[in-house]
Amino acid sequence: MFSSRLPLGFRLKNGAWGAFLSYSKTTSSKSNSAKAEAKKKSLIKMSSKKAPATAKSVKSSASSQSLGQLSDKTLIQMLDLMIKSRVLEERLIKIYRAGESYFWIGGPGEEAWGVPIGLLANKGQGVKHDFLHLHYRCTPTLIAMGMPMKDSIRLMMNRVTDPSTGGRNFSNHYCIPEMNIAPVTSPIGVQYGIALGTAHAQKRAGAKAISIVTGGDAGTAEGDFASCLIWASRKDNELPMLITVQNNYWGISTSYEGQHGETNIADRARGFNIRSRVVNGNDPVESYIALKEEMDYIRKTGKPSFIEAKVSRLYGHSSASGANLVTSEEDCIKSFSDKLVSKKIITEKEVKAIWSGYEEEALRATEEARGEGSPTSESIWDHVFADNENSDWRKF
């Protein structure tokens, strides 16, 4: 199936993308522990030094042992969704390895951060609901918002039934207008600018909805990130935006230190008088509490807020660097389920059952998606213009 769909001469072991960036695999494994160390240091520094613009929240979320005020139900729900998202991503990687897709990129390692976003967002379509401008590691958020596994698999396998792109784009490049999920695009950083426009329209509509934007640490070097800080914070023109960065300390193979002079990316937001904080994105409770506080603040004041979440990158950058499990970084699901088990909120047996239930669901969804159709060659002309107005010059 794979070889028949590849262009001539492109039967590489890891797909056409396999040769690309193979060096980054070795680079990453070598310096991973150093990176984990740096991350720890920066977090410790952050939690001891309270920023003037930051609310009391740092204190309440500083302890990674605490379960906050969250109910057992919410804690279990979060663990459940985190596992679901991980199982799905691992299934996507298997689909890639089986030669049933060309490329994988996704969000394993960001579940503790991404799931609470999905749970807390005001879900719906139009300016009275939150807009989400996400990047390509956002599966946990969408799973938490109710996206069926099968829809992600359809995207991965470029089926005609893929509801996001109809087989036109890469894995994790979701688009779900019914939930205001703006299309995920490949060019790094552009979502930071586009989010300004939805926030502007939301502000006009006056319904206390906000625009949430996510992105990677390396991508903050793009001008669009600076645009976002500038436009969101204009005096008397502030925009209701939750601006976030998922700092996994990597941009493909370039380390955080290789690009950043600032201690925390969150420091940049302070220069614009944007309320800003750093959280341990491997801790779903800390993430949940911080996200809730900042979302409440934005809805109440109409002003922007900034969160930098320190996260792990558990399968490397993408399939181009092998998509192999990295064991030197913290696995947020393991930490969280161990914690819930030790606090007797859930049993190990129950956790196992969650994993196996979702594994079965993912496998079934894959089998179903496999049988669904492919986009047709004629369809390339569809949707160049709205309402399928002709865009082919041969027919003008």
């Binding site: 490049h173 552009v190 989010a195 569809d382 160049v384 010059w393």
Partner: protein
């Protein structure tokens, strides 16, 4: 008669009132200046942005995504180049999402030479724009067409690039915009911001009415038999002038104002060239991979055996910029004499 800047202003005012236009924004677009060419003076929805072209295009994309209509301005097209990947995304969003998110946004920007604007106020963008799929691209040559095309752009569900020939911003047409006062002085009094303190000034808008120029439709501005000249923007007016001059010498030139670069009015070109057998395309974007080359390609493919002479393109010279000294600008951008002699040469050519 309104000039093009006034016509654009009237179209924006009409759209604020009738087409749910919610935002008109860009650098110096709001009060007090109302745009470096005054095209956005007195509007209710206009506002000044940070000096950030990428921010401007991104903002427009987000507003469109949220379902509101907006017109964003890039102050000079010379400064649009750092947004080109955003323009690509705006153009591919509907396609990439398999028809789910259309972005009904209009971007307007002044283009072209003719005001001694030197290197960074003379660029053209029509040929560049023709390579950004998913956009409609229009370029008026008269105030009335500017009015009608801008209304169509704002109504269109797709992203539309509205290119304003900057040398024509003060040029008047010979047709009134429906609802426009016929007295030029009255119009000026009512909608041009006063010199000096403008803090209390408000425009007294005339009630213009809906007038649409369909995107994708050209206009025959001179009827003729011996050659077809296809042009747009500033050079269209030159083509008209030349056709009038040559008419006195007994030469019959048909002139087509293309008005829309994409989609373009192939039927009009085809019918005309089939009749005349000769064609000259004129525009001021640079000549290598010029949009006119695409039109000539198509003429050759579809009308080869009806041609009486080699089709020809006159466009900007393929040099990095347009120099300030008139000798430099005039040697770079197509001039009247050059166009006129090309017409005569083509007419004399025999197969």
């Amino acid at each position: 008669m309104a000039n093009m800047a006034q016509a654009i202003r009237l179209a924006l005012n009409y759209s604020e009132k009738n087409l749910q236009l919610k935002d008109v924004f860009g650098q110096d677009v709001g009060a007090p200046l109302g745009g470096v060419f005054t095209a956005t003076q007195g509007l209710k929805t206009s506002w000044n942005t940070p000096l950030d072209e990428r921010g401007i295009i991104s903002m427009a994309m987000g507003i469109a995504m949220a379902g509101d209509r907006c017109v964003a301005e890039i102050q000079f097209c010379d400064y649009i180049f750092n947004t080109i990947d955003l323009l690509k995304i705006a153009g591919n969003t509907l396609w990439c999402t398999n028809g789910q998110y259309n972005l009904p946004m209009t971007v307007m920007t002044p283009v072209g030479a003719g005001i001694r604007g030197s290197v960074y106020h003379s660029h053209s963008f029509d040929s560049w724009a023709s390579r950004i799929q998913g956009w409609k691209v229009v370029m008026p040559s008269t105030p009335l067409d500017a009015y009608g095309l801008l209304l169509s752009a704002i109504k269109d569900p797709n992203p539309v690039l509205f290119l304003k020939p900057k040398a024509l911003m003060r040029v008047r047409g010979d047709e009134l915009i429906p609802g426009e006062p016929s007295d030029e002085k009255e119009l000026k009094m009512r909608i041009d911001a006063p010199i000096g303190d403008r803090s209390k000034w408000k425009a007294d808008w005339p009630q213009t009415t809906e007038y649409l120029v369909e995107i994708g439709k050209g206009k025959i501005t001179r009827q003729g038999e011996q050659i077809t000249v296809v042009s747009w923007g500033r050079h269209l007016l030159l083509a008209n002038e030349i056709a009038d001059e040559l008419k006195a010498d007994g030469v019959s030139v048909e002139v087509i104002d293309l008005r829309s670069i994409y989609p373009y009015d192939w039927d009009m070109i085809k019918t005309s060239v089939a009749k005349t057998g000769r064609v000259l395309i004129v525009n001021e974007d640079t000549e290598v991979t010029n949009f006119g080359e695409h039109l000539i390609y198509r003429v050759v493919q579809e009308l080869f055996y009806q041609l009486l002479a080699r089709p020809r393109l006159i466009a900007g010279k393929n040099v990095p910029g347009i120099g300030l000294h008139p000798n430099l600008e005039d040697a770079t951008v197509p001039q009247k004499a050059e166009i006129k002699s090309a017409i005569l040469e083509i007419i004399e050519e025999v197969p």
